[in-house]
Amino acid sequence: MPEEIIGSCAVKRLNILDPQGNADENLLPPLNGQDIRRLYELLVLSRTFDGRALALQREGRLGTYPSILGQEAAQVGSAFALEKSDWVFPSFREMGMHITLGYPMHLLYQYWAGDERGLATPTGLNILPICVAVGTHIPHAVGAAMAASYRGDRNAVVCYFGDGATSKGDFHEGLNMAGVFRAPVVFICQNNQWAISVPFDRQTAAPSLAQKAWGYGFEGIQVDGNDIFAVYRATRTALEKARNGGGPTFIECHTYRIADHTTADDASRYRPPEEVADWREKDPILRLRRFMTQRHLWDEAYERHVQEEATAAVDEAVHRAESAPKPAATEIFDYTNAELSPRQQRQRKEVG
């Protein structure tokens, strides 16, 4: 019997907007000028939020913080495609998603300053708390998607993680189950090339992450993660598919972590500055601004206005976060169980 080919995998990549701001007209998603300006404003707001967080950390006003610098389009573009009722399972580097969905920025600052109250998602949003453990939240998203199907809801579930997470067992178990049960879940991987000091080619021998989906029996696509139109379009398509019973999709946003892993890291120890400089040229905000300039959606006055608004919103959020009254010491007990055991009640009395 001869050998035969029983399957083959083609890996798709979507690019719409190039670094010079030129867009492929045929692939541009249906966004009007107002939408595009909104996207731009969210990108600027996310970057302003992030820059302030880094400054606050240096002043000792925030704890260890993971910057999103350079990854704003992957976060804002994907979140912009979501409905408020959708369920989101984030990792820890998606503050651009939070901001886009309207998660209060002061809560994010509170959380990164070490206050658990920052993760109490406001009613009306279904964003799960930030998951610090890498990749272990992937099965949760799959279970929630299975639950949405079971209930007959049209909600989709989105799960964010990075390239490092794709090496974990829970990535495999989660994606495998998602494929088996055709769960309405969209996996958004921000492949920012570095898991602290470990580069992409030490995470996997595969040339792309998108192709991993093929092994689980569903579609994977790589998009230019610094191209907000590509990210938005791919996410929208995947969400529609999920809502219509088409099952899961894996989206690899090919992007770059411009900053250190966190404020506790020094990336100059392990990666060449030229690489960072190259990626700065591919900046997601710069290219959208170039595109908008071509379309007469951007000028200096608009830029000043956007920057001022972002700064004011961030000022307000910092003020709110820092003027929040200190939580009571007994609060360490209050959310451990629905009801405290007699021993926990005794311990609670000890602290106040």
Binding site: P139, V142, G143, R151, P342
Partner: protein, 320 residues
């Protein structure tokens, strides 16, 4: 009242909870078409369908993680891990997420989730099929650990676990699955979590056991006047019941199947020492599994606390 073994009692509890609440569903390896390797979910897929009794891929972390996601969404999943020796793959899900989600989200998201797993020695099974490492989960605030010792408590405790708003690890002693038959009400009932049951009332010695060891301790204490406390839930455990009895008898023997060092008995002994020491008339003794790897069937009987070892400890505290 019908006579049932633990398998039948657990099956009935699942059936009644699924009939009562459409949010209750089952998932795990072989739980559907096969009814579970111990037949605990026998017939439930036929009755409730494949969407509610879900045969999953072979992936313990995925099963517990997905069940957790379902519970976050608002369902009340009951996940099965086929044997306790395989739950370690899901340890991260239980300890890093299930135990903490209520706290992490300041009460916005909760995990009303039950993870059932057969546990314990004495069934002549292969390696990792006879573990009793329940204490591992008692060190994780946020998780409850429940262990029935017979058909009646199995049904009532499982029903209570499914209705509980927090994650519960439910350990089923395999050796007792078909060993004991007793009267079990056909209708729904709960046995409250966190409460011990007095399985025998005496007064000379307080004997504390749970799960698989209750049956053996009942045998061992025949002819002795003991308070035998069956903890039923080990996290949180019924401190008051233990202290009340210990203060009365002044003598305490703890019987646990798990290895002695850092077993749950250590927590009990420390609690009694801290809060009842002036009532004690003898050292607190533990009869436990040895600090060895759980042996394969040829040698397992040397490991499991025997009637003789339990009696030796009773005699020792009585003559002290």
């Amino acid at each position: 009242m019908p006579q049932m073994n633990m398998v039948q009692a657990l099956n009935l509890a699942l059936r009644q909870e699924m009939a009562r609440d459409p949010d209750v569903l089952l998932l795990g390896e072989d739980v559907g078409r096969d009814g579970g390797v111990f037949r605990i979910s026998e017939g439930l897929q036929e009755e409730f369908g494949v969407a509610r009794v879900i045969d999953t891929p072979l992936a313990e972390s995925g099963i517990v993680g997905a069940a957790l996601g379902m519970s976050l969404y608002g369902l009340r999943p009951v996940a099965e891990i086929q044997f306790m020796g395989f739950i370690y793959a899901a340890f991260d899900q239980l300890c890093s997420h299930a135990a903490r989600m209520r706290s992490r989200s300041r009460g916005r998201f909760t995990c009303p989730l039950v993870v059932r797993t057969p546990y314990g020695a004495g069934i002549k099974a292969p390696e990792l099929h006879e573990e009793s490492t329940e204490a591992l989960f008692c060190h994780m605030p946020g998780i409850k650990v429940v262990i029935p010792s017979g058909p009646y408590s199995a049904k009532g405790l499982l029903t209570a676990a499914i209705r509980d708003p927090d994650p519960v690890i439910f350990l089923e002693p395999t050796r007792l699955y078909r060993l004991i038959r007793e009267e079990v009400p056909a209708e729904e009932y709960t046995v409250p979590l966190g409460k011990a049951k007095c399985a025998r009332e005496g007064g000379d010695v307080t004997v504390i056991a749970w799960g698989s060891m209750v049956e053996r301790t009942l045998k061992a204490t025949e002819g002795y006047r003991v308070d035998l406390l069956d903890l039923q839930t080990i996290s949180p455990f019924d401190e008051e019941a233990i202290l009340t009895s210990a203060r009365k008898t002044g003598r305490v023997v703890i019987v646990q199947e798990a290895a002695e060092t850092c077993g749950f008995g250590a927590e009990l002994a420390a609690t009694i020492a801290a809060r009842a020491i002036l009532h004690l008339r003898a050292p607190i003794l533990r009869v436990a599994g040895f600090d060895v790897t759980m042996p394969l069937p040829k040698l397992e009987d040397y490991y499991i606390p025997s009637v003789e070892r339990i009696r030796k400890a009773l005699d020792e505290v009585l003559k002290y």
